[in-house]
């Protein structure tokens, strides 16, 4: 079973073709890294999964169900989302940021607090941050809260749009560890968009290499890295991993 499946997906922005005939299946229960340079179409691919964008051709399905047109908000609430720079709302405290959608879903105050503290624990943040505004927190702390927000409603799938970039190397390694911990404790499949093949190698079991809107190669990480299909992939592996 795939968590996300793209079938013959093409996407254009006006005259610009951003994705061409993408056929990819991301295995359930794993982390799939979508790797490519800027402009390769990797973020577009991610936005097709939660219906922020719609394909011009082809199908996108999540756990076997096509991305719906009706009730898209409810559908999105079933998918965690984290983004580069964390994207916390500046006027809400840490806890309010993480629990915003849970509150809208009508969660009890106590169970929200409980889940929030549990997640803080997962990402090794102290409960002291609860009432702070984002600007009172470091970039690393913000990004940990970003992960908490993505996990709050216990999603089966998480979309991660370069959440570990734009962060200093030491903090980044700490965040990798937190993410690995989350993978071990929460049963969640992830799609991780990154331009960093090292990051992909460390965090993802499955790789999708995108180049100019076309999938160069996709498969289990070890297989793609040891047996590049195309010259683009081998040069990518060569330049980034050696």
């Amino acid at each position: 079973m795939s968590c996300v499946e793209f079938k013959g997906v093409t996407k254009r922005f006006g005259d610009l073709k951003v994705l061409t005939g993408v056929d990819v299946a991301c295995p359930s229960g794993q982390t799939s890294a979508i790797v490519g340079a800027s402009g390769s179409g990797k973020t577009t691919l991610l936005q097709l999964v939660n219906g922020v964008l719609r394909p011009d051709e082809g199908l996108v399905s999540v756990f076997g169900r096509e991305v719906p047109r009706e009730g898209i908000e409810q559908f999105r609430r079933g998918i965690g989302y984290a983004v580069q720079g964390a994207g916390l709302f500046p006027h809400l405290t840490a806890q309010e940021n993480v629990t915003l959608v849970a509150r809208l879903e009508g969660w009890e105050e106590a169970s929200m607090r409980e889940r929030f503290l549990e997640l803080l624990d997962e990402v090794e943040l102290s409960a002291d941050v609860s009432d702070r505004l984002p600007r009172e927190l470091s970039g690393g702390q913000q990004q940990r809260l970003g992960l908490c927000r993505a996990l709050m409603l216990k999603p089966d799938l998480m979309l991660l749009d370069e959440p570990f970039s734009a962060i200093d190397p030491i903090t980044r390694v700490e965040l990798y560890e937190r993410f690995e911990h989350i993978k071990a404790t929460q049963s969640v499949s992830s799609l991780l968009v990154t331009h960093d093949l090292r990051e992909a190698r460390r965090l993802a079991e499955h790789l999708v290499i995108l180049n100019g809107g076309v999938v160069e190669q996709s498969g289990p990480t070890s297989e793609v890295l040891s047996h590049p299909d195309t010259s683009y992939v081998s040069s990518l592996v060569e330049s980034q991993l050696t």
Partner: protein
């Protein structure tokens, strides 16, 4: 919000039985004559509502036509030239033929003729035996100095000189305000004036007779609407011929030079006719309170609507750059209409008084609210909008939980600006009879009375400052700021 509701609940006009609404223009003689009319009516048991200080002929006339006031004092020359556009120098019968069709009537004249006058010093007139304007011919050694306007106007010096054969005489221009001083000191020999100016009495000047009837006549008389009861008309007709030029000059002088109030001078005049009237004085604090409350009412209601409409409109259009630009442009155009013109434009639609003032203030308040709200909403970090969508917020929830709270400081700043503009502009509402703190300012301007002007200007300024501070406090409570960093 509670304050706004409270203001809305104050009745817009507070009368039970229909009072007679007496209007006046915003210059001394008009205030004075309207006060005479008002006191005479009151003495005879009518309730009177004074709508004094309306900003000019057009406003008074339109207000009367629309039935917003029942009577004001108008001049025959103004009616024929500025309003009805009739040729020549038509008398009251001719005017009333025209006015009758509109349901208006000019009652019997007070008697005096407030027209352009040519004045010389009494002493000069005696020594040179000057009685008429025609006598000026041949007085080549007498300096003729006229106000700039009089020299320029077709119905001023050029026509006068032609009519009386004075064209060869050398003339000079002077600032009107300085002319009286100059002529009384003998620096100039002949100048132009208005025939009922109090200064003519004060400086002991003689008005030369216009024996060739060059100047149009400006006989003053109550102009009434058809709704004014017959008995009241009859009553006002008793004022016929009671005030001649000298009497009017003296009454004007009482106001300007003796510092008497319009009410007192009117009372004195009526007493001389055997009518005992009362001056309806208000203490400083009473009028201050009344004016301030009215001012708050005008700006509060206008601002309330501007917030309501401005925010709704902003929420409707902020996502479309094009529509936003159009909306901001149009509301910007309103801002370019001078406030007094906008107020005047309101009259044909809304009449005079509180309603058109509120509409005008509302239009002025709209732009800062719209511009700030639209700009703030449209410029929220697109990443945050994307995140909001991605975590499953509906458009409404995004607005409620992300866009609005993030735009709040800017929206607040807009409302604050609108409030302050509104409070300032509302002082002009006195020109269309809406009252407020502009009332003492308008009277003060007419009387050249600084103290009276300050009675409106200081509270208006304080109101603006208090509003500014209050909004600051409110904003602090509503907008979340980071607390001091914990150590």
């Amino acid at each position: 919000m509670t304050r706004l509701l409270f203001l809305l609940l104050i009745p817009l006009t507070g009368f039970a039985a229909d009072p007679i609404r007496v209007g006046s223009k915003n210059f001394n003689e008009s205030y004075l004559l309207s006060e005479v009319v008002a006191q005479l009516l009151e003495t005879n048991g009518y309730e009177v509502e004074r709508k004094f200080g309306l900003g000019g002929t057009l406003i008074c006339y339109e207000a009367l036509k629309k039935g917003e006031i029942d009577v004001y004092v108008e001049y025959t020359g103004t009616l024929s030239q500025a309003i009805l556009d009739l040729p020549g120098n038509p008398g009251r019968e001719t005017l009333n033929r025209e006015l009758g069709a509109l349901g208006l009537k000019l009652l019997a004249e007070f008697g005096f003729n407030n027209t352009y006058a040519i004045a010389v010093r009494q002493e000069v007139a005696e020594t040179r035996a000057l009685e008429t304007i025609g006598d000026l011919a041949g007085q080549a050694d007498l300096p003729f100095v006229f106000s700039h306007e009089f020299l320029e106007r077709e119905d001023g010096w050029p026509g006068l000189a032609a009519r009386y054969g004075l064209a060869g005489h050398r003339v000079q221009g002077i600032e009107h305000g300085l002319a009286y001083q100059a002529i009384s000191e003998g620096a100039i020999g002949v100048t132009d004036a208005y025939s009922t100016d109090g200064e003519l009495v004060r400086y002991d000047l003689k008005v030369l007779e216009d024996n060739l009837a060059y100047f149009p006549s400006y006989f003053a008389a109550p102009l009434v609407g058809e709704q004014l009861p017959e008995e009241a008309r009859v009553l006002l007709e008793t004022l016929s011929g009671t005030i001649d030029d000298q009497r009017m000059q003296a009454m004007n002088a009482d106001v300007v030079f003796k510092g008497m109030s319009f009410g007192e001078v009117a009372q004195g005049f009526l007493a001389s006719r055997g009518v005992v009237s009362e001056v309806r004085g208000q203490s400083l604090w009473e009028s201050l309170l009344r004016n301030t409350l009215r001012h708050l009412q005008l700006t509060g209601i206008a601002l309330g609507f501007a917030i309501l409409i401005g925010m709704s409109l902003s929420l409707m259009v902020y996502r479309s750059e094009r529509t936003s630009a159009v909306i901001i442009y149009v509301s910007g155009l309103m801002q370019t209409i001078p406030s007094i013109a906008l107020l005047a434009l309101m009259i044909p639609v809304f009449g005079i008084g509180v309603v058109p003032a509120i509409v005008a203030l509302f239009l002025y308040s709209l732009l800062p609210i719209l511009r700030n709200a639209i700009t703030a909403l449209a410029n929220v970090d697109p990443t945050l909008v994307k995140v909001g969508q991605a975590i499953g917020l509906s458009q409404r929830e995004l607005l409620r939980h992300v866009l609005l709270p993030m735009s709040l400081p800017a929206i607040f700043a807009g409302i604050r600006t609108a409030a302050v503009i509104s409070i300032g502009t509302a002082t002009l509402a006195a020109f269309i009879g809406a009252g407020g703190l502009g009332d003492p300012i308008v009277v003060g301007l007419s009387l050249d009375d600084v103290e009276l002007i300050l009675q409106g200007a200081i509270p208006a300024a304080l109101l603006a400052i208090v509003t500014e501070l209050a909004f600051g406090l409110l904003e602090n409570r509503l907008v979340r700021r980071p607390r001091r960093k914990r150590t």
